[in-house]
């Protein structure tokens, strides 16, 4: 009997013992550590139908312990590009690997110089949002980064100023993301009821398909000023991560129209980790979906597809803003 108790006790102890992975700081071990880390924690292998074992065999052959740090970084960066994910970056002291095809291979559909012609020099700025009433009584606001914290008082000021306008253009072109909290704060100003806007899951284990049940994301309302007239959100391929989530949320609201190009995507909430040599790695860890449980990792199509017209650009005209003004005028007449 006492033998059994002893065995069970030792078994429990061994189960709870923590074993740290053993790696040395060689190119080979750093490569293996990177591959294993993503194998266990990256969240889009199945969705992207990527054979990660095959990736290992192709890139492992290029690793040798005599290679320099720069050479190792180069091979690793190429391997990470196989993930086709703007949220995947490797950070060393001399470079940051990145995958930017999601917007570099597409038209910009945004020109700051042309935008300046609309904003002029007398625009206002609150919470990182530039805003102005255009001469046809349409409110225009430009939010360039969801990393800029939005204050409720600032939004009250903006919406109050736009209250007599026929509608608002929310321009988030080239917004590369930031804090998801700002998505809810801004979107709640255009929402009148608690509404399902998406789902989130997370990995529950090291397997490529080990995910939790989707957990619903709801957009609440705010007791502060809410805007009820037509709103157009302008997008381009450089809208990524939180900006992509913002578009996904705004698409669920009845007064909103998305105009422009598809967003760049980036629906995986990124986590960070590191390699034995101290290089930091960022990767998508927790997938988010839209309200229909569709993936938005590769972007969200607009309601009205509009691209910058080269003739307009020569004249200093922003085709997307003009289309948005037209839509708002049409909608304000019918509403």
């Amino acid at each position: 009997m006492s033998k059994w108790i002893f065995t069970i006790f030792i078994g429990f102890l061994l189960a709870s013992c923590v074993k740290e992975p053993q790696y040395s700081n060689t190119p080979r071990d750093n490569f293996e550590a990177l591959w294993k880390l993503l194998d266990e924690r990256y969240c889009f292998f199945e969705y992207k139908k990527l054979d990660w074992n095959d990736v290992h065999s192709r890139y492992s052959a290029r690793i040798s312990n005599s290679m320099s740090e720069e050479q190792l970084f180069g091979v690793m960066a190429e391997m990470l590009a196989e993930l086709k994910d703007g949220h995947v970056n490797l950070f060393s002291s001399f470079d940051i690997s990145r995958y930017w095809d999601w917007y570099e291979k597409y038209p910009d559909n945004f020109d700051e110089k042309i935008q300046r012609r609309y904003l002029g020099s007398n625009y206002l700025v609150a919470s990182g949002i530039k805003y102005k009433v255009l001469n046809d009584n349409v409110g225009y606001m430009y939010y360039g980064s969801f990393s800029d914290a939005i204050g409720d008082g600032n939004l009250d000021q903006i919406i109050s100023r736009f209250s007599l306008c026929d509608g608002i253009i929310i321009d988030i072109r080239n917004n590369g993301g930031g804090d998801l909290t700002n998505v809810d704060i801004l979107a709640a100003r255009f929402n009148n009821e608690r509404r399902l806007v998406g789902y989130i899951t997370h990995k529950t284990g090291k397997g490529h398909n080990d995910f939790s049940n989707p957990y619903p994301k709801y957009l609440g309302t705010t007791g502060r000023l809410r805007y009820q007239k037509p709103v157009v959100v302008l997008t381009n391929r450089a809208c990524f991560s939180s900006a992509n989530d913002f578009v996904s949320v705004m698409k669920q609201l009845p007064t909103i129209t998305i105009v422009g190009d598809s967003t760049g995507g980036g629906s995986g909430l990124p986590f960070s980790s590191e390699l034995p040599n101290g290089w930091s790695i960022r990767f998508s860890a927790s997938p988010m979906f839209n309200a229909n449980m569709d993936q938005t990792e590769f972007g969200i199509a607009p309601d009205v597809k509009v691209e910058m017209n080269s003739d307009d650009m020569k004249k200093g005209v922003d085709t997307l803003i003009e289309e948005a003004r037209k839509l708002i005028k049409e909608k304000s007449k019918t509403s």
Binding site: V18, G205, S272
Partner: protein, 260 residues
């Protein structure tokens, strides 16, 4: 709050019964080793600082010993390459009640049970949506104490060893790849409260100290070691610290009375 109530009750009891009640304050510094795979797969090590306050009272003619312990622990640790930095901060409250056995004039042994609350976080200065791992663990466990008293050059010395081993409790832990955004902003708290026992937790604290009189008080020199390891949702945590400590202790309540 519960710990504070127990402490005040112990204080009032000691005063009412005119029993010895010892308060100690110790400062320790040493090394810390931190592994938290929710943040990174590798160990970080560095310098540890610990401030500990004890309160002890003997009751029922010396049969029982009540012991409160409150520790504030901070360490700053770096990884092997020196490129990563953790800030680790914990508050640990421990209450135990031990049955004393005075085996001889020199030897005292005691054993008992108690509760342990650990609250704190490991913060990684360069992570994105997993910047920290919070700890909130409430455990019950076993405690033991051995004390040897002797005189040297007509001064009374005591050497003491004390240990506490958590056995059963509950603790907070996010799931394997779950973000704090999902838990706290979206409200998905399923699975974050976990049963702790020897199957997923191995922890203990060990304190060895020597105490000798110094003026109206006693000076304490010692070694304090803590081991805290868990494996929950396939995330592993290991916090190990070794501290050399120095402190002062005395029956402060009784000294107050004599001064009045």
């Amino acid at each position: 709050m519960f710990g504070m109530m127990l402490f005040l009750q112990q204080l009032m009891w000691a005063q009412k019964e005119n029993l010895p009640h010892t308060l100690s304050l110790n400062f320790g510094t040493g090394s810390s080793s931190v592994l938290e795979t929710y943040l990174t797969p590798y160990s970080y090590s560095g310098t540890d600082y610990r401030l500990t306050c004890f309160s002890e009272a003997v009751r029922d003619s010396g049969k029982w010993l009540g012991k409160h312990e409150l520790s504030l622990d901070y360490s700053q640790t770096t990884n092997f390459s020196g490129r990563g930095l953790y800030h680790n901060g914990f508050i640990n409250y421990n209450y135990t009640r031990l049955r004393r056995f005075e085996l001889s004039a020199r030897w005292t042994l005691a054993g008992g049970m108690g509760g342990d609350l650990l609250v704190g976080a490991i913060y990684n200065s360069r992570n994105s949506n997993n910047p920290a791992q919070a700890k909130l663990n409430l455990n019950s466990g076993l405690s033991a104490l051995a004390e040897y008293q002797f005189t040297l050059r007509k001064r009374a010395f005591s050497v003491r060893y004390y240990t506490f081993i958590p056995l059963l409790g509950i603790g907070f832990a996010p799931e394997y790849g779950q973000s704090y955004y999902e838990i706290f902003r979206l409200g998905n708290s399923d699975g974050v409260v976990n049963l702790l026992s020897l199957h997923n937790q191995w922890a203990m604290s060990n304190r060895l100290s020597i105490q000798f009189p110094c003026g109206g008080y006693a000076l304490q020199l010692g070694y304090f070691n803590t081991i805290y390891q868990t494996r929950i949702h396939q995330n592993e945590t290991s916090l190990i610290s070794h501290n050399l400590t120095i402190g002062i202790s005395g029956d402060f309540m009784r000294l107050d009375k004599s001064r009045r």
